[in-house]
């Protein structure tokens, strides 16, 4: 299935583009998508533990299943610097 990925701020600069398109197996989760992005762009690997994920206008967890056609956003920590994952 196809999933679109949007990259913001630092991640956009590291990768050099603000959007990626992934082909993922059915049942893939946010974590699967992150692993696929890092496979293509290993420079992102060190950011893994800090990364926030969003679908639509809400943060989502790494274990959230993705659906075909969804847009997954990859965020660096927000500018105040406190880590959040469940708001």
């Amino acid at each position: 299935m196809r999933v679109d990925v949007r990259l913001f701020a630092r991640y956009r600069e590291v990768v050099g583009v603000d959007r990626l398109r992934l082909e993922l197996p059915a049942g893939a989760t946010v974590e699967t998508a992150w692993a696929e992005v890092v496979r293509g762009y290993p420079a992102l690997a060190p950011f893994g533990p800090h990364t926030l994920f969003a679908v639509g206008q809400d943060y989502v967890g790494r274990d959230r299943p993705l659906e075909a056609g969804e847009e997954l956003c990859l965020f660096p920590p927000v500018s105040g610097g406190r880590h959040v994952s469940n708001h």
Binding site: F47, Q57, D58, Y59
Partner: protein
């Protein structure tokens, strides 16, 4: 009002937006660009947002103010793009029946905004630049 904007923030406009005959206090907070960070001279800042999600999260914070403080007269704006020293990057106005609650609600709002609203800041120094992140974030 909950907006991401790309023009200067006006404290007067924010105050007027929350004006309320029942209010005894209006607290307006402006976050402004500082000329020094961790001992380095700042040239300017660049802010970037996921605009629709940022506005949606600010609106959620407005909902939290209604729930926790019973306040409904709230305005929050954050500016994006390039900001010079002294310019306001974020503005929050809260009207409340009494001053203590206005201060508390305003502080709560800015703390929550910093924690959950998807906005990122790049500090551009005289000798380099850095995206701001928490301790341990790769630089």
């Amino acid at each position: 009002m909950y907006r991401i904007i790309d023009r200067p923030i006006s404290a007067d406009e924010l105050g007027e937006l929350v004006a309320d005959p029942a209010a005894g206090g209006i607290c307006v907070f402006l976050g402004v660009v500082r000329d020094t960070t961790r001992g380095r001279r700042v040239r300017y800042l660049e802010y970037e947002a996921h605009v629709p999600m940022a506005e949606s999260k600010m609106k959620e914070i407005g909902g939290e103010l209604a729930e926790r403080f019973g306040l409904h007269r709230v305005a929050m704006v954050h500016r994006i793009g390039r900001l010079a020293i002294g310019e306001a990057s974020v503005g929050i106005a809260v009207a409340a029946p009494h001053r203590r609650m206005a201060f508390e609600a305003c502080q709560y709002a800015i703390d929550r905004l910093k924690a959950v609203v998807p906005i990122w800041k790049k500090e551009v120094f005289e000798d380099g630049e850095v995206w701001v992140g928490p301790a341990g974030f790769p630089s």
